[in-house]
């Protein structure tokens, strides 16, 4: 019983501490982080409403998911999209000054924003491209299809 109370107090205390340290006041995020000497990562939000799984789960286990997927794909030819690195790169593209997606050598790259903070090196992008390729191609095709449709509709108008 004493143990449980102690644990509760400890948990509550650490949560409070977590809130104090990791929740910068609204509007002064970066400044607050700098002032406390801890550069809190602020990854850019990905496309769409939510990630392919619960965000907290992805944050904790994305490396395992990717590692599992890579073996499935390379050895068994399983090419599902949910945990595909290609899809991560595609969805989490960060645009640079030239409004083109940045590569991994740019510090604002989605993966780097946290990995720099955690000092964990990524080897993925020594072989894999860190910029989206699919969206560009799909975008082009989609635009082409839209233009064709527009032309068709215009031609049909009396």
């Amino acid at each position: 019983m004493v143990n449980q109370i102690a644990r509760f107090v400890f948990l509550a205390g650490s949560m409070l501490l977590g809130v104090l340290v990791f929740q910068p006041a609204p509007g002064v995020g970066a400044v607050a982080a700098e002032a406390s000497g801890v550069p809190v990562p602020s990854p850019t939000k990905g496309r769409g409403d939510k990630c392919v799984a619960e965000t907290s789960y992805i944050r904790r286990y994305h490396m395992n998911l990717l590692s599992h997927q890579r073996d499935d794909t390379v050895h068994d030819g399983i090419r599902t999209k949910q945990f595909s690195l290609k899809e991560c790169v595609d969805c989490h593209a960060v645009k640079g000054a030239d409004s083109k997606p940045v590569a991994y050598d740019d510090p604002s790259h989605f993966c780097r924003s946290c990995h720099d903070y955690a000092a964990v090196a990524i080897d993925c992008f020594e072989c894999h491209d860190s910029k989206p390729q699919k969206s560009a191609a799909t975008g082009e095709a989609f635009r082409g299809a839209l233009l064709a449709l527009e032309g068709y509709l215009k031609a049909r108008k009396p």
Partner: protein, 255 residues
């Protein structure tokens, strides 16, 4: 009783053939005269993405050296464009997934040219010698390098009798998303595994048929009714260094 079972089997076989024929007819939809939309791939119908590859198929190629143009580099260019390896300003140590080889019989002076790449052996020496298991053969016979486990020792480069493998010496950027390549790993022809998984043909075969002599044919060696199996059964074909008994997946004609 036995006769009846045979009749039943025969009837079933007939109906199966009819269904297949029907499917083949459905496969191509004529949009306009001369324009056909292929909905179902004939030779390599796409497997569902969540399904693991099986040994039901064994992918192979038949290359007719008689139709392979002297000086034609269509397959080499197509491979380089598809997989992102550098074709221009070549260094002797640069990667080369496919190359044109010229043969000349010194007695008669007869000359032939043919594309040479990974022969996708059924008993690949590169897999035998790999110390990490990075070099492996997929269930459908495609021989690949798992670059996640490759340590770049290059034993496989030495072991391959076809000189099909290359080592990446320099850091690379802007690789193709479907063909990751990186410094310190060995690579070779993947028989365009990303295309095969999507029910398409390898880039070299497609280009050769679209824009060159139509010397290359891709298909399933396990299926006796496939175009490639029928041609191999009909014509005299050869495999390079057949004496090694590697049971290669690439067959040649007229060499």
């Amino acid at each position: 009783m036995s006769q009846r079972r045979d009749d039943q089997a025969s009837a079933q076989e007939h109906s199966r053939r009819d269904i297949l024929r029907g499917a083949a007819a459905l496969g191509g939809v004529a949009l306009a005269p001369g324009v056909t939309l292929h909905l179902i791939g004939g030779e390599a119908a796409a497997r569902p993405v969540e399904e693991a590859v099986s040994d039901a198929h064994r992918w192979g190629m038949l290359i007719d050296a008689g139709k392979c143009g002297d000086g034609c580099q269509a397959c080499v260019t197509a491979c380089s464009e598809e997989n992102g390896w550098d074709l221009d300003a070549r260094d002797p140590t640069d990667s080369q997934w496919i190359r044109k080889v010229e043969l000349r019989d010194p007695k008669s002076g007869a000359e032939r040219t043919l594309p040479m790449m990974c022969q996708h052996c059924a008993s690949p020496p590169c897999v035998d010698v790999c110390p990490t298991g990075a070099s492996f053969k997929r269930a459908d016979g495609i021989v690949l390098v798992d670059k996640h486990t490759c340590i770049g020792c290059r034993y496989c480069v030495m072991a391959c009798p076809y000189n099909a493998r290359s080592f990446v010496h320099e850091p690379l950027t802007d690789q193709k998303a479907h063909a990751p390549r990186g410094k310190g790993t060995v690579e070779s022809c993947t028989m365009c595994v990303h295309r095969v998984d999507a029910g398409r043909q390898p880039a070299c075969v497609e280009r050769c048929n679209d824009a060159a002599g139509g010397a290359m044919l891709f298909g399933d060696l396990n299926d006796p009714t496939s175009e490639i199996s029928r041609r191999i059964a009909k014509y005299a074909t050869a495999r390079v260094r057949a004496d090694l008994g590697l049971d290669t997946g690439v067959y040649y004609r007229n060499i």
